[in-house]
């Protein structure tokens, strides 16, 4: 564990030191590039007045709800498309076309339609999560070896049994790969929504800091976003470690 952490710790320290030296020995004003110390102080202040925990909590809720909705839809639609070639032929042009539209472009529309509360952010988040999970679900389910279907068929297994005993575990590695991408993208979704219009959340905090030339606050918000993304990524990695043990090399 220590061995794994040492390089990360070292590189972080080097980064902070470099950053500190730049702000210390150049004449870049604090509102353009704040020093690490002023960012740290801003962080403590916003924790103490409760604003940072509150806004982080709001963004986290948006992200988690968006992920749940996006992943659920993507999994169900992906499974159906994987099983029905004809349906896939009909729907795939729309799905691909929908990916050509940047979420940033339709985010204002969604805010107009759904209001500037949490709902619009959840939906934007879900939209951005949808595609990678959908594609990986389709690929995963299609990759299930046909011999395993034969095995289940020879045992007169029901469709539900085949789903749970073969299709789910066999497609899980590829599915979790999609979830890993989706989880990190979901942070972007929530922030895009909040930047369009919001009274709360890290995106709101980001914009507020921007308007008030409170650059240290902007930095604090950005670091919180990074922390959220890393945390989500970590959760997916935990799931992978738990469910994909059988894939590890035997000497690990």
């Amino acid at each position: 564990m220590m061995k794994k952490l040492t390089p990360i710790l070292l590189s972080t320290l080097t980064f902070l030191l470099g950053w500190h030296l730049i702000t210390r020995y150049s004449d870049i004003p604090n509102f353009i590039l704040p020093s690490p110390l002023s960012v740290w102080n801003r962080f403590l202040k916003s924790v103490n007045d409760g604003s940072l925990p509150y806004h982080t909590w709001i963004t986290l809720i948006e992200i988690v709800l968006g992920l749940v909705v996006g992943v659920l839809f993507a999994t169900v639609v992906g499974y159906i498309l994987a099983k029905s070639r004809s349906l896939e032929k009909v729907l795939s042009p729309y799905l691909v076309a929908s990916q050509a539209i940047p979420v940033v472009a339709i985010a204002p529309l969604l805010v107009i339609w759904l209001g500037d509360g949490i709902l619009s952010k959840v939906i934007i988040c879900a939209l951005i999560v949808f595609f990678p999970v959908l594609v990986n679900t389709i690929v995963g389910v299609r990759a299930v070896p046909s011999a395993l279907y034969d095995l289940m068929g020879s045992l007169h297994a029901s469709r539900v049994q085949t789903l749970w005993k073969v299709e789910v575990p066999a497609s899980l590695p590829v599915f979790l790969g999609g979830l890993r991408i989706g989880a990190t993208l979901s942070v972007i979704g929530a922030i895009v929504g909040e930047l369009v219009s919001a009274e709360q959340g890290l995106g709101f905090l980001l914009q507020l800091g921007d308007f008030q030339y409170d650059t240290p606050m902007v930095f604090v918000a950005v670091f919180m976003l990074i922390a959220l993304a890393l945390m989500l990524y970590g959760v997916v990695r935990l799931l992978e470690n738990k469910f994909l043990k059988w894939q590890e090399r035997s000497n690990v």
Binding site: L151, M152, G153, S154, H156, V166, A170, Q247, S250
Partner: protein, 247 residues
């Protein structure tokens, strides 16, 4: 003689393709008796595997019928060319799959699984994952999985084709031992004459596509059979007969 456990009558199979369909099987009829070990021998592309897949209920014949003695849908144990184990399941979990599908209670599942692991001699490997098994061990697990629910019919589709020659011959002895212990009815597809003479009570020879039965030969070699038997004149005579029948 017993009444047959399985009667197969005039099975024809045509796979649709661009030029009017590919005939895989033509008028295949034969009877299978309880506890009989039948080998189906034939050149590649003679529809051997198609025949097994029909009996397993995986595909429907274009015409013809097969009925089981008790008139119900038979339970099937199937072993494939590759071991076809689930890589995410341990040896134990792979073997008990048929009982899970039948929703048997946990206690008897555990007992039967243990019994099967002992039968195939993999006692120390109960919690091993398939990636850590050799080819022969994996195929033994596949055989145990095919037998655990005591199926009416055991179907083997060239189960040892992917093994090296030495392991394959060891598996013959293993399989005939298991077969004698379990008193199972077996239909096995193979293209090895030695394999069929070593294992079978009866050998059916299929012709080239469309496959039809060209020869139905009793193998009257005494059991238990062993390696030395392969060098006896009688074994040679039977082998020659089969070789001549295969085009």
């Amino acid at each position: 003689m017993h009444t047959p456990i399985l009667t197969i009558r005039n099975i024809n199979t045509v796979f649709p393709d661009e030029n009017g369909g590919l005939r895989a099987l033509r008028d295949v009829s034969f009877d299978v008796h309880p506890r009989e070990f039948i080998c189906v021998l034939g050149p590649s592309g003679s529809g051997k595997t198609t025949l097994l897949r029909i009996l397993a209920g995986l595909i429907k014949p274009t015409s013809g019928s097969f009925t089981f003695g008790h008139g119900e849908q038979p339970s099937i144990g199937m072993v494939f060319q590759q071991a076809n184990l689930m890589p995410w399941r341990t040896v134990t979990e792979n073997i008990k799959l048929p009982l899970e599908v039948k929703q048997m209670d946990e206690k008897s599942t555990r007992e039967k699984t243990k019994e099967m692991i002992e039968l195939i001699g993999l006692d120390g490997f109960a919690e091993t994952l398939p990636r850590d098994l050799s080819g022969g061990m994996a195929q033994r697990v596949a055989i145990a999985r095919a037998l655990i629910h005591n199926p009416d019919l055991l179907l083997l589709d060239e189960p040892f084709g992917s093994l090296d020659a030495l392991t394959r011959e060891r598996m013959w002895t293993e399989l005939s031992r298991i077969w004698q212990a379990r008193q199972q009815t077996v239909i096995m597809v193979t293209h090895s004459i030695n394999e069929s003479l070593f294992l079978a009570d009866r050998v059916l020879v299929l012709t080239r596509r469309p496959g039809t039965i060209k020869m139905d030969m009793e193998v009257d070699l005494p059991r238990p059979r062993n390696d030395d038997m392969r060098y006896t004149p009688h074994f040679g005579k039977l082998a020659r007969k089969l070789r001549e029948a295969i085009e």
